[in-house]
Amino acid sequence: MARLPSLRGPKVPQQVPRLVAVFALAAIALIAARYFLVPASFGEKGHYRAAALDTIVAREKQYAGQQECALCHSAIMDARLAGNHQGVACESCHGPAAAHAANPVEAKPSVPREREFCPRCHAYNPARPTGFPQIDPVAHNPLAPCVSCHDPHQPEPPVTPESCSACHRQIVSQKAVSHHATLLCTTCHRAPDGHKTSPRTVRPGKPSDRNFCGSCHSADASSPQQIPRINLRTHNPRYVCWQCHYPHYPETS
């Protein structure tokens, strides 16, 4: 305050020191406002708060990455890398598995076995690329879960020996879209080598009685659970199976 009177010389107009004071106050207010309002790390790396990066980096990941899966599941990994699903990462089907990787016992990833899952990729859609394997979920083995015929880790389609399909193409094609798709011809037929060269004289064997079908379909058979069962004694005992069911395209009801 002692310097103010000395400024009030005749040459300095009265408003100048007032203006100086006002500007000084404004500058102090601005500096104070910046000190309190601008975050500490603002401008360290650019026109943003550098501490925001730490918050973003600290987010927890949900997907572990397939390298992490391979640490324990190396056998499945090797099988998958040898097949048509080699480009499909584990968590593409099994869902986020970072929790499982951190705690393998308590957190389990999903295992999609239901029929609705695979058509997400493999149902026919005209917008899908040409050559991508697609099926019509309505006609392709209705009701059967995909995993009953296809191993999702090595999803090669079931094959029929070319030696039969060379002549029995229609039967093979029909069987390929039936519930019996995975069965080889030789599961039910005995096919001696001579049948290929002399098909009329060397006849292949066929099942002859109900017990053959019953070895999979009777109530007490030791076959996989999803195979439909009947009671051999009470289920139309006067007929053989193929009088009502066509074995190459067996209907379910």
């Binding site: 603002f42 593409s92 986020p96 917008a127 991508f132």
Partner: protein, 272 residues
Amino acid sequence: MTPRDHDLADESPAVAENEAVNRREFLSECLKACQLAAPVLLGVIRVPLLEAQESESGGYDPAEHLYGMGIDVSKCIGCGQCVAACKSENDVPLDSRHFNTWVERYVIGDNHVVDVDSPNGGMDGFPPVATEGGIRRAFFVPKLCNHCASAPCVQVCPVGATFTTDDGAILVDDEYCIGCRYCIQACPYGARWLHPEKHVAAKCTFCYHRLVQGLVPACVEVCPTGARVFGEVERRSTPLARFMRFNDIQVLKPHLNTKPKVYYANLDGEVR
């Protein structure tokens, strides 16, 4: 010879001896000084070396990277796994209006009418095509934030809450965003949305929290056909560089000069 001269003559050996002692002292002092100074001097040289070693071993240095994504439209099967994975990884609301990435289906009929749909962002797959008449061509186009090198959203942010990192990702500072929606208006790709609970702008981060751990974004991890490729833009030996060498590359809305870092291969001219 005056006594004074004599004194001088007498003292001259002593003076010479004093000088010799002084020189010895001087040299020893110099040695001591060198001993003291050596660690300091070496330290000045060593500090940058140590820092370089640290960044090589464990630390992540954003300046060493510049990330981009490649999308091969001809490989996308529209399964929507990327959309689901992104929502799970980044805690995006599971409704049908908020997406960091989504998949569009373009169906171009025989009458040349372009029909674009994206039911629930493609997350649950796509229903059968419902067009009357034949289909001329049809394909899926995954979309996401283009992480533009010249990003309009960063330019319009009034508070500096959205920013470009040194490695090329465009991020949002959740704690600093005021939710004014300028960036949502500015983005020509519709890649930004307002978080319904946090009331801040949200967008694709290239899964930045995964990048710093050396992982790829979640959508790239789960893509079953390899339609999404991730890597460095400017290096020669990364999956993205290979992708860009072997394909004709296009970007979305190039006339806007946003310089996107999401590169499309086999992109149809109808895609907007």
